[in-house]
């Protein structure tokens, strides 16, 4: 699974992209975020407040109950501020 981090989430995690294989009990976005939090203090800090975290799976916005699978591209980022 490819994890992409953007903006201040990227700077806290310290990496723009990670290739990971989550344990088999990680089945949805909620489970994935909970597991990612355990990977480092930076990850924990980045994902401390999930109200300001948005997730896209394969470039489409999704909610916490959306399934995730091995080949997915999962992007994690703060609310957007373009325009």
């Amino acid at each position: 699974m490819k994890i992409l981090w953007f903006a201040w989430l990227r700077t806290r995690v310290g990496s723009a992209e990670e290739s990971l294989t989550p344990p088999p009990d990680v089945r949805d976005v909620r489970g994935l975020l909970a597991w990612l939090k355990t990977r480092s203090p930076g990850h924990a800090e980045a994902l401390k407040n999930l109200d300001v975290v948005r997730v896209a799976v394969n470039q489409t916005y999704v909610q916490a109950d959306h399934p995730v699978a091995a080949g997915d591209e999962v992007a994690i980022f703060p609310p957007v501020t373009g325009g």
Binding site: F6, W8, A56, A75, F77, P78, P79, T81, G82, G83
Partner: protein, 150 residues
Amino acid sequence: MIRVQREDFDVGAELKALTQGRHEIGGVVSFVGLVRDMAGDAKIGAMTLEHYPGMTEKQLGEIEAEALRRWPLAGSLIIHRYGRLEPGEQIVLVITASAHREAAFEACHFLIDWLKTKAPFWKLEDTDKGAQWVAAESRDDKAAARWVKK
């Protein structure tokens, strides 16, 4: 049409290209977003726009398709830049063209409101108080919410 690019754009040339020979067009509305030199009471030296290549174009395409469903447009264009920009530089261009001005105004306003809350761009400002990621504004959420169909 959607373009995500580092380079600047020429509004006059884009307007001409969109309307050239299209004599059914009666009104064209455009919006240009510029880098301001102040953020609250901090002075901005420059900003860097980060984006998500691939998803950015996809989201902008979906937003444009929604505008084309809602209003009878003869043409539309969104250009959004990324990378380092200084105060006064152009960030984004939205153009909508229609037979009548009402549709062009509404669609242009809709496009920039939705783009601001849906297109994956993030601004990092270099200020005299240090670098800071711009926080999403609740007024942008409210502006976008106006266009959600009841």
